[in-house]
């Protein structure tokens, strides 16, 4: 009897566990890496450095196992973002709300992302970050600047936040609240989202295998050519 009850409990638990992958995007210096600490309810490290690469991390929150992808936002690095799109369930887009000179670039970059293969149909949470700085604009104003105010075709939400808390302050509670919005949006559509992700990831794996195989062949050919040259 005991075993049975145990098994039943495990089964219920398993049923409720959901794995979710979220990518954090935005221009360089927007505060993505800093925000990720807050999303995990941790205080940020004192000195974050620009990301030129990829940093995965995990968080178990209630029934969710969340896998986070933090990528670099520098201009020449943005083209690699799309390689991650097929496997994410949702997107977080961070904007430095106190950098008006970069709003246009932030809008163009967001527009491009929203159109990219693997994104349409997935929920997007936008943060108007750096609310502590002079001259910052609010979530509502940012929504307007980004042309998101009356966009009905994309499930989105814009929230204020301060990813880097003042000395001695706790993590900004607005971050967790906004994250809840995103998780709820994913939850609503979880079945079809995860089926889509699964299918797209299989396709991606297949392509990657092909790419590696082709690379291996090219490397061998190049080596043979070199040996011939040396022999001559």
């Amino acid at each position: 009897m005991f075993t049975l009850a145990g098994n039943f409990y495990n089964w219920v638990k398993k049923k409720q566990e959901k794995s979710v992958t979220i990518i954090v995007l935005g221009l360089d210096n927007a505060g993505k890496t800093t925000l990720l600490y807050g999303l995990k309810d941790e205080l940020p490290q004192a000195d974050v450095t620009p990301t030129i690469g990829f940093r995965p991390s995990k968080l178990i929150s209630g029934k969710y196992t969340i896998q986070w992808f933090d990528v670099g936002g520098a201009k020449n690095f943005r083209r690699v973002w799309q390689s991650y799109y097929p496997e994410v369930h949702g997107v977080i887009y961070v904007v430095d709300a106190a950098a008006p000179e970069r709003f246009e670039e932030a809008k163009e970059t967001l527009d491009k992302t929203l159109e990219s293969e693997g994104i349409p149909g997935k929920p997007v949470l936008i943060f108007a970050n750096k609310q502590d700085l002079d001259g910052c604009i609010s979530a509502h104003e940012l929504s307007q600047k980004l042309g998101m105010l009356d966009r009905k075709d994309c499930c989105h939400h814009v929230a204020n936040c301060q990813a880097k808390p003042n000395e001695g302050d706790p993590v900004d509670p607005r971050i967790g609240k906004a994250l809840k919005w995103l998780l709820d949006a994913i939850e609503k559509d979880y079945k079809s989202l995860s089926e889509r992700v699964k299918k797209d990831m299989e396709e991606q794996k297949r392509k990657e295998k092909e790419r590696k195989e082709a690379q291996r062949k090219r490397a061998e050919e190049a080596k043979a050519a070199r040996l011939r040259e040396q022999a001559e």
Binding site: I52, R55, P56, K212, R218
Partner: protein, 179 residues
């Protein structure tokens, strides 16, 4: 053992890390390490076995293993995989013809069980040369975006001038497996 000695011991073992530096021959591994240690780089010879260097960076002691990259030596790389805290992979970005070979070697390393999850710093080296590929291009050619099981960082640098080396080491120290 007194508490103090115990603490000291703990601190020491906590702060010493094993870093493996790999990459094809001629990539600039030895030059990069010499430069970081402020040594003369004019007479660097191909490494026939390995060199160990200890670099102190922000209070961390990094025991850096620089292994020769010649094709005949590469099969021995695996002898050094145990207990690696971080992997540094150096690339000669001016050597376009060997980029595929570089990719094949890197993929093999990433598939190694003993190196699973180990953070990866890529030095996109020889940026002082006119024809050097940029870090974004290298990322694409090597398919770095397919890596999911570890943090990675690509640092443009020149071992010759020293530019970028410190930045790479800073990332390494922050992202090293500290458990």
């Amino acid at each position: 053992m007194g508490l103090l000695t115990l603490l000291r011991k703990l601190k020491k073992s906590e702060k010493e890390f094993r870093i493996l530096v790999l990459g094809l021959d001629n990539a600039g591994k030895t030059t990069a390490l010499k430069k970081l240690a402020d040594e003369d780089i004019t007479h660097t010879m191909p490494t026939q076995g390995f060199n160990i260097k200890s670099v102190i960076h922000e209070g961390f002691k990094l025991n850096v293993w620089d292994i020769g990259g010649q094709k005949t030596i590469r099969p021995y790389w695996r002898n050094y995989f145990d207990q690696t805290d971080a992997l540094v992979f150096v690339i000669d970005c001016s050597d376009h013809r060997r980029m595929d070979e570089t990719g094949v070697e890197l993929n093999q390393l990433l598939d190694e069980e003993k190196l699973a999850g180990v953070p990866l710093l890529i030095f996109a080296n020889k940026q002082d040369l006119m024809n050097a590929m940029g870090p974004d291009e290298v990322t694409e050619v090597l398919g770095l975006t397919n890596i999911r099981d570890r943090a990675w960082h690509i640092q443009p640098c020149s071992a010759k001038t020293g530019e970028g080396l410190q930045g790479g080491m800073e990332w390494l120290v922050k992202n090293i497996n500290k458990s």
